[in-house]
Symmetry: C2
Subunit: 301 residues, 2 copies
Protein backbone atom coordinates (compact mmCIF):
# COMPACT_ATOMS: atom_id res chain seq x y z
CA UNK A 1 0.00 0.00 0.00
CA UNK A 2 1.32 3.39 -1.00
CA UNK A 3 1.45 6.28 1.45
CA UNK A 4 -1.85 8.17 1.36
CA UNK A 5 -2.22 11.83 0.41
CA UNK A 6 -3.64 13.88 3.29
CA UNK A 7 -6.42 16.27 2.28
CA UNK A 8 -9.07 18.59 3.64
CA UNK A 9 -12.26 19.82 2.01
CA UNK A 10 -12.85 23.55 2.48
CA UNK A 11 -16.53 24.58 2.26
CA UNK A 12 -19.40 22.15 2.47
CA UNK A 13 -22.04 22.88 -0.15
CA UNK A 14 -23.01 20.59 -3.05
CA UNK A 15 -19.45 20.41 -4.40
CA UNK A 16 -17.95 20.02 -0.94
CA UNK A 17 -20.17 17.01 -0.28
CA UNK A 18 -19.23 15.51 -3.66
CA UNK A 19 -15.51 16.10 -3.07
CA UNK A 20 -15.87 14.40 0.31
CA UNK A 21 -17.59 11.40 -1.35
CA UNK A 22 -14.86 11.14 -3.99
CA UNK A 23 -12.08 11.32 -1.36
CA UNK A 24 -13.70 8.60 0.77
CA UNK A 25 -13.71 6.11 -2.12
CA UNK A 26 -10.18 7.01 -3.29
CA UNK A 27 -7.76 4.54 -1.69
CA UNK A 28 -4.80 6.87 -2.16
CA UNK A 29 -6.27 9.70 -0.03
CA UNK A 30 -6.81 10.26 3.69
CA UNK A 31 -9.49 12.85 4.47
CA UNK A 32 -8.27 14.70 7.58
CA UNK A 33 -11.25 16.98 7.96
CA UNK A 34 -13.82 19.36 6.56
CA UNK A 35 -13.16 23.04 7.13
CA UNK A 36 -16.15 25.38 7.35
CA UNK A 37 -16.30 28.99 8.39
CA UNK A 38 -19.11 28.48 10.86
CA UNK A 39 -19.16 25.00 12.31
CA UNK A 40 -21.94 25.96 14.75
CA UNK A 41 -24.39 26.46 11.88
CA UNK A 42 -24.44 22.80 10.93
CA UNK A 43 -24.45 21.66 14.53
CA UNK A 44 -22.33 18.63 13.57
CA UNK A 45 -18.77 18.26 14.84
CA UNK A 46 -17.97 15.27 12.64
CA UNK A 47 -19.32 13.10 9.86
CA UNK A 48 -18.44 9.38 9.50
CA UNK A 49 -15.66 10.06 12.02
CA UNK A 50 -14.16 12.94 10.01
CA UNK A 51 -13.92 16.12 12.09
CA UNK A 52 -15.70 19.26 10.88
CA UNK A 53 -13.65 22.24 12.06
CA UNK A 54 -13.39 25.97 11.51
CA UNK A 55 -9.57 26.04 11.75
CA UNK A 56 -7.00 23.46 10.67
CA UNK A 57 -5.23 23.88 14.02
CA UNK A 58 -8.02 21.65 15.36
CA UNK A 59 -6.88 18.80 13.08
CA UNK A 60 -4.42 16.05 14.06
CA UNK A 61 -1.96 17.06 11.33
CA UNK A 62 -1.44 19.52 8.48
CA UNK A 63 -2.87 18.37 5.13
CA UNK A 64 -0.79 18.27 1.95
CA UNK A 65 -3.66 19.55 -0.16
CA UNK A 66 -6.85 21.54 0.36
CA UNK A 67 -9.85 21.13 -1.96
CA UNK A 68 -11.44 24.58 -2.04
CA UNK A 69 -15.17 24.17 -2.65
CA UNK A 70 -16.02 27.76 -1.71
CA UNK A 71 -17.91 29.99 -4.21
CA UNK A 72 -15.75 31.09 -7.17
CA UNK A 73 -15.67 34.73 -6.14
CA UNK A 74 -14.05 33.73 -2.81
CA UNK A 75 -11.25 31.67 -4.41
CA UNK A 76 -8.81 34.57 -5.05
CA UNK A 77 -8.87 35.44 -1.33
CA UNK A 78 -9.07 31.88 0.03
CA UNK A 79 -6.41 30.02 -2.01
CA UNK A 80 -3.45 32.20 -0.92
CA UNK A 81 -4.24 31.56 2.77
CA UNK A 82 -3.56 27.85 2.18
CA UNK A 83 -0.67 28.25 -0.23
CA UNK A 84 1.10 30.54 2.26
CA UNK A 85 1.14 27.63 4.70
CA UNK A 86 2.83 25.47 2.04
CA UNK A 87 -0.44 23.55 1.48
CA UNK A 88 -1.28 22.88 -2.17
CA UNK A 89 -4.76 23.80 -3.39
CA UNK A 90 -7.32 22.73 -5.96
CA UNK A 91 -10.32 24.88 -6.84
CA UNK A 92 -13.09 24.84 -9.45
CA UNK A 93 -13.07 28.62 -10.08
CA UNK A 94 -15.46 29.04 -13.02
CA UNK A 95 -15.34 32.69 -14.06
CA UNK A 96 -13.73 31.95 -17.43
CA UNK A 97 -12.53 35.48 -18.21
CA UNK A 98 -10.74 35.83 -14.85
CA UNK A 99 -8.74 32.58 -15.08
CA UNK A 100 -5.49 34.06 -16.50
CA UNK A 101 -5.32 36.68 -13.71
CA UNK A 102 -6.06 34.15 -10.96
CA UNK A 103 -3.40 31.81 -12.35
CA UNK A 104 -0.82 34.58 -12.31
CA UNK A 105 -1.77 35.57 -8.76
CA UNK A 106 -1.66 32.01 -7.38
CA UNK A 107 1.51 31.12 -9.31
CA UNK A 108 3.51 33.77 -7.46
CA UNK A 109 2.19 32.79 -4.01
CA UNK A 110 2.59 29.06 -4.68
CA UNK A 111 6.18 29.37 -5.86
CA UNK A 112 7.11 31.59 -2.94
CA UNK A 113 5.78 29.13 -0.39
CA UNK A 114 6.71 25.82 -2.02
CA UNK A 115 3.22 24.70 -2.97
CA UNK A 116 1.17 23.98 -6.09
CA UNK A 117 -2.26 25.30 -7.06
CA UNK A 118 -4.46 23.74 -9.70
CA UNK A 119 -7.20 26.18 -10.56
CA UNK A 120 -10.45 25.90 -12.47
CA UNK A 121 -10.38 22.13 -12.06
CA UNK A 122 -14.05 21.28 -12.54
CA UNK A 123 -15.55 20.13 -15.83
CA UNK A 124 -15.93 23.48 -17.60
CA UNK A 125 -13.51 25.05 -17.08
CA UNK A 126 -11.60 21.87 -16.34
CA UNK A 127 -11.84 18.52 -18.08
CA UNK A 128 -13.65 20.17 -21.03
CA UNK A 129 -10.71 22.58 -21.34
CA UNK A 130 -8.35 19.60 -21.70
CA UNK A 131 -10.50 18.17 -24.50
CA UNK A 132 -10.76 21.54 -26.29
CA UNK A 133 -6.95 21.84 -26.10
CA UNK A 134 -6.44 18.35 -27.49
CA UNK A 135 -8.93 19.00 -30.33
CA UNK A 136 -7.05 22.22 -31.18
CA UNK A 137 -3.80 20.24 -31.43
CA UNK A 138 -5.44 17.60 -33.65
CA UNK A 139 -6.94 20.22 -36.01
CA UNK A 140 -5.05 23.51 -35.71
CA UNK A 141 -7.47 25.26 -38.08
CA UNK A 142 -11.22 25.11 -37.63
CA UNK A 143 -14.05 25.90 -35.25
CA UNK A 144 -14.89 24.38 -31.87
CA UNK A 145 -18.39 24.80 -30.47
CA UNK A 146 -19.28 24.08 -26.83
CA UNK A 147 -22.98 23.45 -26.27
CA UNK A 148 -24.17 23.18 -22.68
CA UNK A 149 -27.26 21.48 -21.37
CA UNK A 150 -29.89 20.50 -20.78
CA UNK A 151 -29.14 21.47 -17.21
CA UNK A 152 -29.67 24.22 -14.66
CA UNK A 153 -27.53 27.35 -14.79
CA UNK A 154 -26.71 28.73 -11.35
CA UNK A 155 -25.64 32.12 -12.70
CA UNK A 156 -28.83 32.66 -14.72
CA UNK A 157 -31.05 31.39 -11.89
CA UNK A 158 -29.48 33.83 -9.44
CA UNK A 159 -29.87 36.72 -11.93
CA UNK A 160 -33.64 36.07 -12.08
CA UNK A 161 -33.95 35.68 -8.30
CA UNK A 162 -32.52 39.19 -7.88
CA UNK A 163 -35.33 40.81 -9.91
CA UNK A 164 -38.25 42.58 -8.21
CA UNK A 165 -41.34 40.44 -7.80
CA UNK A 166 -39.47 37.11 -7.98
CA UNK A 167 -39.73 34.80 -4.99
CA UNK A 168 -37.81 31.88 -6.51
CA UNK A 169 -36.47 30.98 -9.95
CA UNK A 170 -34.74 28.32 -12.00
CA UNK A 171 -33.08 28.86 -15.38
CA UNK A 172 -32.43 25.78 -17.49
CA UNK A 173 -29.91 25.93 -20.35
CA UNK A 174 -30.96 24.16 -23.56
CA UNK A 175 -28.36 23.73 -26.32
CA UNK A 176 -29.50 24.79 -29.79
CA UNK A 177 -26.14 24.14 -31.48
CA UNK A 178 -23.10 26.19 -32.60
CA UNK A 179 -22.55 27.45 -29.05
CA UNK A 180 -26.00 29.08 -28.81
CA UNK A 181 -28.46 28.36 -26.01
CA UNK A 182 -32.15 28.68 -25.26
CA UNK A 183 -33.04 29.75 -21.70
CA UNK A 184 -36.10 28.12 -20.10
CA UNK A 185 -36.89 30.19 -17.02
CA UNK A 186 -39.26 28.95 -14.31
CA UNK A 187 -40.44 31.65 -11.88
CA UNK A 188 -42.38 31.70 -8.62
CA UNK A 189 -43.87 35.21 -8.25
CA UNK A 190 -44.12 37.27 -5.10
CA UNK A 191 -47.76 37.71 -3.99
CA UNK A 192 -48.35 41.12 -5.57
CA UNK A 193 -46.08 40.81 -8.62
CA UNK A 194 -47.41 41.01 -12.17
CA UNK A 195 -46.43 38.32 -14.70
CA UNK A 196 -45.89 40.71 -17.63
CA UNK A 197 -43.62 43.04 -15.63
CA UNK A 198 -41.43 40.19 -14.41
CA UNK A 199 -41.32 38.56 -17.85
CA UNK A 200 -40.20 41.86 -19.46
CA UNK A 201 -37.57 42.43 -16.78
CA UNK A 202 -36.12 38.96 -17.47
CA UNK A 203 -36.09 39.44 -21.25
CA UNK A 204 -34.24 42.76 -20.88
CA UNK A 205 -31.71 41.45 -18.36
CA UNK A 206 -28.12 41.27 -19.69
CA UNK A 207 -28.04 37.53 -18.83
CA UNK A 208 -30.92 36.86 -21.23
CA UNK A 209 -31.13 39.70 -23.76
CA UNK A 210 -29.05 37.91 -26.41
CA UNK A 211 -30.66 34.47 -26.04
CA UNK A 212 -34.00 32.96 -26.98
CA UNK A 213 -35.74 33.03 -23.58
CA UNK A 214 -39.03 31.52 -22.45
CA UNK A 215 -40.55 32.41 -19.08
CA UNK A 216 -43.00 30.07 -17.36
CA UNK A 217 -44.69 30.87 -14.04
CA UNK A 218 -44.93 27.99 -11.60
CA UNK A 219 -45.97 27.32 -8.00
CA UNK A 220 -42.68 25.75 -6.97
CA UNK A 221 -39.21 25.39 -8.52
CA UNK A 222 -37.71 22.99 -5.97
CA UNK A 223 -39.66 20.17 -7.60
CA UNK A 224 -38.10 20.96 -11.00
CA UNK A 225 -34.50 20.79 -9.87
CA UNK A 226 -32.10 17.98 -10.69
CA UNK A 227 -28.30 18.03 -10.68
CA UNK A 228 -27.96 16.54 -14.15
CA UNK A 229 -26.10 18.53 -16.77
CA UNK A 230 -24.67 17.86 -20.21
CA UNK A 231 -22.22 19.23 -22.73
CA UNK A 232 -21.41 18.58 -26.34
CA UNK A 233 -18.17 19.94 -27.80
CA UNK A 234 -17.46 19.54 -31.47
CA UNK A 235 -14.63 20.63 -33.73
CA UNK A 236 -14.56 20.52 -37.53
CA UNK A 237 -11.21 21.49 -38.91
CA UNK A 238 -8.00 20.84 -40.75
CA UNK A 239 -5.18 18.41 -39.87
CA UNK A 240 -2.11 19.42 -41.84
CA UNK A 241 -3.65 20.26 -45.23
CA UNK A 242 -6.60 17.84 -44.94
CA UNK A 243 -10.03 19.39 -44.35
CA UNK A 244 -13.27 18.01 -42.94
CA UNK A 245 -11.76 16.35 -39.86
CA UNK A 246 -14.55 15.87 -37.30
CA UNK A 247 -14.32 15.26 -33.57
CA UNK A 248 -16.85 15.56 -30.76
CA UNK A 249 -17.02 14.98 -27.02
CA UNK A 250 -20.28 14.53 -25.18
CA UNK A 251 -21.24 14.05 -21.53
CA UNK A 252 -24.40 13.54 -19.49
CA UNK A 253 -23.43 13.82 -15.85
CA UNK A 254 -24.38 14.71 -12.30
CA UNK A 255 -22.80 18.16 -12.12
CA UNK A 256 -21.42 18.41 -8.54
CA UNK A 257 -20.39 14.72 -8.57
CA UNK A 258 -18.14 15.21 -11.61
CA UNK A 259 -16.77 18.48 -10.24
CA UNK A 260 -15.84 16.82 -6.94
CA UNK A 261 -14.23 13.87 -8.73
CA UNK A 262 -12.17 16.09 -11.05
CA UNK A 263 -10.97 18.10 -8.04
CA UNK A 264 -9.77 14.91 -6.33
CA UNK A 265 -7.95 13.83 -9.52
CA UNK A 266 -6.36 17.28 -9.77
CA UNK A 267 -5.20 17.04 -6.14
CA UNK A 268 -3.06 14.03 -7.13
CA UNK A 269 -1.55 16.00 -9.98
CA UNK A 270 -0.88 19.01 -7.72
CA UNK A 271 1.47 16.93 -5.59
CA UNK A 272 3.33 15.61 -8.65
CA UNK A 273 4.00 18.91 -10.41
CA UNK A 274 6.63 21.60 -9.82
CA UNK A 275 5.57 24.39 -7.48
CA UNK A 276 3.39 27.02 -9.16
CA UNK A 277 -0.16 27.41 -10.47
CA UNK A 278 -1.66 25.45 -13.36
CA UNK A 279 -4.92 25.04 -15.23
CA UNK A 280 -5.95 21.53 -16.28
CA UNK A 281 -4.67 21.75 -19.90
CA UNK A 282 -1.23 22.19 -18.29
CA UNK A 283 -1.56 18.84 -16.50
CA UNK A 284 -0.60 15.50 -18.07
CA UNK A 285 -3.77 13.34 -17.97
CA UNK A 286 -1.87 10.42 -16.42
CA UNK A 287 -1.01 12.57 -13.38
CA UNK A 288 -4.75 12.63 -12.58
CA UNK A 289 -4.71 8.89 -11.87
CA UNK A 290 -3.49 7.08 -8.72
CA UNK A 291 -0.38 4.93 -8.44
CA UNK A 292 2.40 4.23 -10.90
CA UNK A 293 2.25 5.31 -14.52
CA UNK A 294 3.28 1.97 -16.00
CA UNK A 295 0.04 0.16 -15.13
CA UNK A 296 -2.04 2.90 -16.81
CA UNK A 297 0.13 3.02 -19.93
CA UNK A 298 -0.34 -0.74 -20.36
CA UNK A 299 -4.13 -0.40 -19.89
CA UNK A 300 -4.99 2.89 -21.61
CA UNK A 301 -2.49 3.37 -24.46
CA UNK B 1 8.48 35.67 -34.50
CA UNK B 2 9.69 32.90 -32.25
CA UNK B 3 12.65 30.75 -33.18
CA UNK B 4 11.50 27.81 -35.30
CA UNK B 5 11.93 24.16 -34.32
CA UNK B 6 14.09 22.29 -36.83
CA UNK B 7 12.70 18.92 -37.87
CA UNK B 8 13.16 16.06 -40.31
CA UNK B 9 10.66 13.47 -41.48
CA UNK B 10 12.08 9.93 -41.53
CA UNK B 11 10.31 7.62 -44.00
CA UNK B 12 8.03 8.83 -46.74
CA UNK B 13 4.88 6.71 -46.98
CA UNK B 14 1.33 7.93 -46.31
CA UNK B 15 2.13 9.14 -42.80
CA UNK B 16 5.44 10.68 -43.91
CA UNK B 17 3.63 12.73 -46.56
CA UNK B 18 1.03 13.83 -43.99
CA UNK B 19 3.69 14.76 -41.43
CA UNK B 20 5.45 16.80 -44.13
CA UNK B 21 2.16 18.60 -44.94
CA UNK B 22 1.52 19.35 -41.26
CA UNK B 23 5.08 20.67 -40.77
CA UNK B 24 4.83 22.95 -43.82
CA UNK B 25 1.72 24.70 -42.48
CA UNK B 26 3.06 24.96 -38.88
CA UNK B 27 4.68 28.41 -38.51
CA UNK B 28 6.78 27.28 -35.56
CA UNK B 29 8.62 24.54 -37.51
CA UNK B 30 11.35 24.48 -40.12
CA UNK B 31 11.46 21.28 -42.19
CA UNK B 32 15.14 20.61 -42.87
CA UNK B 33 14.68 17.50 -44.96
CA UNK B 34 13.10 14.16 -45.59
CA UNK B 35 15.24 11.14 -44.77
CA UNK B 36 14.66 7.93 -46.76
CA UNK B 37 16.69 4.77 -46.84
CA UNK B 38 16.84 4.63 -50.62
CA UNK B 39 16.67 8.06 -52.22
CA UNK B 40 17.36 6.60 -55.68
CA UNK B 41 14.04 4.73 -55.62
CA UNK B 42 11.94 7.85 -55.76
CA UNK B 43 14.26 9.55 -58.24
CA UNK B 44 13.55 12.91 -56.57
CA UNK B 45 16.31 14.80 -54.76
CA UNK B 46 13.99 17.44 -53.30
CA UNK B 47 10.33 18.41 -52.96
CA UNK B 48 9.19 22.05 -52.75
CA UNK B 49 12.84 22.92 -52.10
CA UNK B 50 13.16 20.47 -49.18
CA UNK B 51 16.04 18.04 -49.71
CA UNK B 52 15.33 14.31 -49.75
CA UNK B 53 18.41 12.56 -48.38
CA UNK B 54 19.51 9.16 -47.17
CA UNK B 55 21.77 10.53 -44.40
CA UNK B 56 21.39 13.65 -42.25
CA UNK B 57 25.04 14.51 -42.94
CA UNK B 58 23.75 15.75 -46.30
CA UNK B 59 21.57 18.37 -44.52
CA UNK B 60 22.63 21.95 -43.77
CA UNK B 61 22.27 21.45 -40.01
CA UNK B 62 21.29 18.88 -37.39
CA UNK B 63 17.57 18.80 -36.56
CA UNK B 64 16.24 19.09 -33.03
CA UNK B 65 13.56 16.49 -33.64
CA UNK B 66 12.96 13.59 -36.02
CA UNK B 67 9.43 12.44 -36.91
CA UNK B 68 9.78 8.71 -37.45
CA UNK B 69 7.15 7.59 -39.97
CA UNK B 70 8.72 4.18 -40.56
CA UNK B 71 6.65 0.99 -40.02
CA UNK B 72 5.96 0.26 -36.33
CA UNK B 73 8.14 -2.85 -36.25
CA UNK B 74 11.16 -0.75 -37.30
CA UNK B 75 10.70 1.87 -34.54
CA UNK B 76 12.60 0.01 -31.77
CA UNK B 77 15.71 -0.14 -34.00
CA UNK B 78 15.31 3.30 -35.64
CA UNK B 79 14.52 5.60 -32.71
CA UNK B 80 17.74 4.88 -30.72
CA UNK B 81 19.87 5.85 -33.75
CA UNK B 82 18.44 9.38 -33.55
CA UNK B 83 18.31 9.64 -29.76
CA UNK B 84 21.98 8.65 -29.56
CA UNK B 85 22.80 11.76 -31.60
CA UNK B 86 20.89 13.88 -29.05
CA UNK B 87 18.00 14.32 -31.51
CA UNK B 88 14.54 13.96 -29.98
CA UNK B 89 12.07 11.62 -31.68
CA UNK B 90 8.36 11.19 -32.22
CA UNK B 91 6.84 7.99 -33.54
CA UNK B 92 3.38 6.52 -34.00
CA UNK B 93 4.29 2.97 -32.91
CA UNK B 94 0.93 1.19 -32.81
CA UNK B 95 1.56 -2.29 -31.41
CA UNK B 96 -0.41 -1.64 -28.20
CA UNK B 97 0.94 -4.55 -26.18
CA UNK B 98 4.59 -3.61 -26.85
CA UNK B 99 4.31 0.04 -25.78
CA UNK B 100 5.52 -0.37 -22.16
CA UNK B 101 8.68 -2.20 -23.31
CA UNK B 102 9.43 0.35 -26.05
CA UNK B 103 8.96 3.20 -23.58
CA UNK B 104 11.40 1.62 -21.15
CA UNK B 105 13.95 1.01 -23.93
CA UNK B 106 13.74 4.55 -25.34
CA UNK B 107 13.66 6.18 -21.89
CA UNK B 108 17.11 4.83 -21.06
CA UNK B 109 18.64 5.87 -24.41
CA UNK B 110 16.99 9.30 -24.36
CA UNK B 111 18.14 10.12 -20.83
CA UNK B 112 21.67 8.95 -21.56
CA UNK B 113 22.00 11.17 -24.61
CA UNK B 114 20.04 14.24 -23.48
CA UNK B 115 17.03 13.80 -25.74
CA UNK B 116 13.31 13.14 -25.47
CA UNK B 117 11.20 10.52 -27.21
CA UNK B 118 7.43 10.66 -27.51
CA UNK B 119 6.20 7.28 -28.60
CA UNK B 120 2.90 5.98 -29.93
CA UNK B 121 1.86 9.52 -30.81
CA UNK B 122 -0.80 8.88 -33.45
CA UNK B 123 -4.51 8.77 -32.74
CA UNK B 124 -4.83 5.24 -31.32
CA UNK B 125 -2.55 4.81 -29.52
CA UNK B 126 -2.13 8.56 -29.10
CA UNK B 127 -4.83 11.20 -28.81
CA UNK B 128 -7.42 8.49 -28.04
CA UNK B 129 -5.18 7.30 -25.17
CA UNK B 130 -5.28 10.82 -23.69
CA UNK B 131 -9.08 10.83 -23.84
CA UNK B 132 -9.32 7.35 -22.30
CA UNK B 133 -7.03 8.50 -19.48
CA UNK B 134 -9.11 11.62 -18.84
CA UNK B 135 -12.35 9.61 -18.83
CA UNK B 136 -10.80 7.21 -16.30
CA UNK B 137 -9.96 10.17 -14.04
CA UNK B 138 -13.50 11.56 -14.37
CA UNK B 139 -15.13 8.21 -13.56
CA UNK B 140 -12.68 5.95 -11.71
CA UNK B 141 -15.14 3.03 -11.74
CA UNK B 142 -16.88 1.87 -14.90
CA UNK B 143 -16.30 0.54 -18.41
CA UNK B 144 -14.75 2.23 -21.44
CA UNK B 145 -15.42 0.81 -24.90
CA UNK B 146 -13.41 1.80 -27.96
CA UNK B 147 -15.21 1.12 -31.23
CA UNK B 148 -13.23 1.58 -34.45
CA UNK B 149 -14.52 2.24 -37.92
CA UNK B 150 -15.86 2.26 -40.46
CA UNK B 151 -12.40 2.31 -41.96
CA UNK B 152 -9.74 0.09 -43.45
CA UNK B 153 -7.51 -2.01 -41.19
CA UNK B 154 -3.96 -2.31 -42.48
CA UNK B 155 -3.15 -5.26 -40.21
CA UNK B 156 -6.19 -7.29 -41.26
CA UNK B 157 -5.71 -6.45 -44.95
CA UNK B 158 -2.11 -7.63 -44.85
CA UNK B 159 -3.13 -10.85 -43.08
CA UNK B 160 -5.50 -11.69 -45.95
CA UNK B 161 -2.96 -10.74 -48.64
CA UNK B 162 -0.56 -13.33 -47.17
CA UNK B 163 -3.00 -16.22 -47.74
CA UNK B 164 -2.62 -18.60 -50.70
CA UNK B 165 -4.78 -17.70 -53.68
CA UNK B 166 -5.16 -14.01 -52.75
CA UNK B 167 -3.89 -11.45 -55.25
CA UNK B 168 -5.11 -8.38 -53.36
CA UNK B 169 -7.32 -7.70 -50.36
CA UNK B 170 -8.91 -5.02 -48.24
CA UNK B 171 -10.39 -5.52 -44.75
CA UNK B 172 -12.78 -2.87 -43.51
CA UNK B 173 -13.54 -2.61 -39.77
CA UNK B 174 -17.18 -1.96 -38.87
CA UNK B 175 -18.04 -1.13 -35.24
CA UNK B 176 -20.90 -3.14 -33.75
CA UNK B 177 -20.58 -1.63 -30.25
CA UNK B 178 -19.04 -2.56 -26.87
CA UNK B 179 -15.60 -2.88 -28.46
CA UNK B 180 -16.68 -5.60 -30.92
CA UNK B 181 -16.14 -5.35 -34.67
CA UNK B 182 -17.43 -6.84 -37.89
CA UNK B 183 -14.83 -7.49 -40.61
CA UNK B 184 -15.86 -6.83 -44.21
CA UNK B 185 -13.18 -8.45 -46.37
CA UNK B 186 -12.86 -7.70 -50.11
CA UNK B 187 -10.65 -10.13 -52.03
CA UNK B 188 -9.21 -10.28 -55.55
CA UNK B 189 -8.43 -13.95 -56.26
CA UNK B 190 -5.39 -15.34 -58.05
CA UNK B 191 -6.33 -16.87 -61.40
CA UNK B 192 -6.58 -20.50 -60.26
CA UNK B 193 -7.79 -19.92 -56.69
CA UNK B 194 -11.13 -21.26 -55.42
CA UNK B 195 -13.52 -18.92 -53.58
CA UNK B 196 -14.55 -21.44 -50.91
CA UNK B 197 -10.96 -22.35 -50.03
CA UNK B 198 -9.92 -18.73 -49.64
CA UNK B 199 -13.06 -17.87 -47.69
CA UNK B 200 -12.45 -20.74 -45.26
CA UNK B 201 -8.80 -19.78 -44.84
CA UNK B 202 -9.84 -16.22 -43.93
CA UNK B 203 -12.51 -17.34 -41.45
CA UNK B 204 -9.99 -19.62 -39.70
CA UNK B 205 -7.22 -17.01 -39.58
CA UNK B 206 -6.37 -15.76 -36.05
CA UNK B 207 -7.06 -12.19 -37.19
CA UNK B 208 -10.67 -13.08 -38.01
CA UNK B 209 -11.63 -16.19 -36.07
CA UNK B 210 -13.20 -14.30 -33.15
CA UNK B 211 -15.06 -11.69 -35.20
CA UNK B 212 -18.13 -11.73 -37.43
CA UNK B 213 -16.46 -11.81 -40.87
CA UNK B 214 -17.95 -11.46 -44.35
CA UNK B 215 -15.87 -12.20 -47.45
CA UNK B 216 -16.76 -10.66 -50.81
CA UNK B 217 -14.85 -11.39 -54.03
CA UNK B 218 -14.22 -8.39 -56.27
CA UNK B 219 -12.31 -7.50 -59.44
CA UNK B 220 -10.34 -4.67 -57.87
CA UNK B 221 -9.79 -3.36 -54.35
CA UNK B 222 -7.94 -0.16 -55.24
CA UNK B 223 -11.26 1.42 -56.20
CA UNK B 224 -12.71 0.64 -52.73
CA UNK B 225 -9.99 2.31 -50.74
CA UNK B 226 -10.33 5.59 -48.92
CA UNK B 227 -8.27 6.93 -46.02
CA UNK B 228 -11.26 7.81 -43.86
CA UNK B 229 -11.52 6.20 -40.46
CA UNK B 230 -13.58 6.70 -37.34
CA UNK B 231 -13.67 5.90 -33.65
CA UNK B 232 -16.19 6.12 -30.89
CA UNK B 233 -15.07 5.80 -27.26
CA UNK B 234 -17.61 5.77 -24.49
CA UNK B 235 -17.40 5.41 -20.74
CA UNK B 236 -20.27 4.86 -18.33
CA UNK B 237 -19.15 4.96 -14.75
CA UNK B 238 -19.07 6.39 -11.28
CA UNK B 239 -17.79 9.80 -10.13
CA UNK B 240 -17.23 9.65 -6.36
CA UNK B 241 -20.33 7.72 -5.27
CA UNK B 242 -22.59 8.89 -8.13
CA UNK B 243 -23.42 6.32 -10.82
CA UNK B 244 -24.61 6.65 -14.42
CA UNK B 245 -22.06 9.28 -15.48
CA UNK B 246 -21.81 9.13 -19.30
CA UNK B 247 -19.07 10.45 -21.58
CA UNK B 248 -18.20 9.75 -25.19
CA UNK B 249 -15.67 10.91 -27.78
CA UNK B 250 -16.21 10.44 -31.50
CA UNK B 251 -14.13 11.19 -34.60
CA UNK B 252 -14.48 10.88 -38.37
CA UNK B 253 -11.10 11.61 -39.85
CA UNK B 254 -8.59 11.10 -42.63
CA UNK B 255 -6.34 8.57 -40.92
CA UNK B 256 -2.77 9.52 -42.07
CA UNK B 257 -3.61 13.25 -41.94
CA UNK B 258 -4.52 13.07 -38.25
CA UNK B 259 -1.54 10.83 -37.47
CA UNK B 260 0.86 13.29 -39.14
CA UNK B 261 -0.71 16.24 -37.31
CA UNK B 262 -0.56 14.55 -33.90
CA UNK B 263 3.12 13.71 -34.51
CA UNK B 264 3.88 17.36 -35.25
CA UNK B 265 2.05 18.44 -32.07
CA UNK B 266 3.99 15.83 -30.08
CA UNK B 267 7.27 17.15 -31.52
CA UNK B 268 6.58 20.49 -29.80
CA UNK B 269 5.95 18.73 -26.53
CA UNK B 270 9.13 16.64 -26.89
CA UNK B 271 11.26 19.79 -26.82
CA UNK B 272 9.45 21.11 -23.73
CA UNK B 273 9.70 18.03 -21.54
CA UNK B 274 12.54 16.65 -19.41
CA UNK B 275 14.76 14.13 -21.18
CA UNK B 276 13.28 10.64 -21.31
CA UNK B 277 10.51 8.75 -23.11
CA UNK B 278 6.79 9.46 -22.79
CA UNK B 279 3.48 8.28 -24.15
CA UNK B 280 0.84 10.93 -24.92
CA UNK B 281 -1.14 10.54 -21.65
CA UNK B 282 2.09 11.69 -19.96
CA UNK B 283 2.04 14.95 -21.94
CA UNK B 284 0.14 18.06 -20.83
CA UNK B 285 -2.28 18.90 -23.68
CA UNK B 286 -1.16 22.53 -23.73
CA UNK B 287 2.40 21.44 -24.61
CA UNK B 288 1.02 20.16 -27.93
CA UNK B 289 0.21 23.73 -29.02
CA UNK B 290 2.59 26.37 -30.40
CA UNK B 291 3.69 29.54 -28.62
CA UNK B 292 3.07 30.75 -25.09
CA UNK B 293 0.63 29.05 -22.73
CA UNK B 294 -1.16 32.20 -21.63
CA UNK B 295 -2.92 32.82 -24.97
CA UNK B 296 -4.31 29.27 -25.01
CA UNK B 297 -5.45 29.39 -21.38
CA UNK B 298 -7.42 32.56 -22.13
CA UNK B 299 -8.99 30.96 -25.23
CA UNK B 300 -9.53 27.34 -24.23
CA UNK B 301 -10.18 27.28 -20.46
Amino acid sequence: MQRRITAVVVGYGHIGHSAEDALRVADDFELLGIVRRHVEESGKKSIYGTPIVSDIKELSSTPEVALLTVPSRLVPATAPQWLEKGISTVDSFDIHTDIPALRQQLDAVAKQHGATAILSAGWDPGSDSMVRTLMEAMMPKGLTYTDFGPGMSMGHSVAVKMLDGVKDALSVTIPIGTGLHRRMVYVVLEDNAKEEEVRNAILKDPYFVHDETHVTFVENVERLMDQGHAVQMSRKGVSGTTHNQLASFEMHINNPALTGQVMVAAARAALRMPHGAYTLPEVAPIDLLPGEREQWIARLC
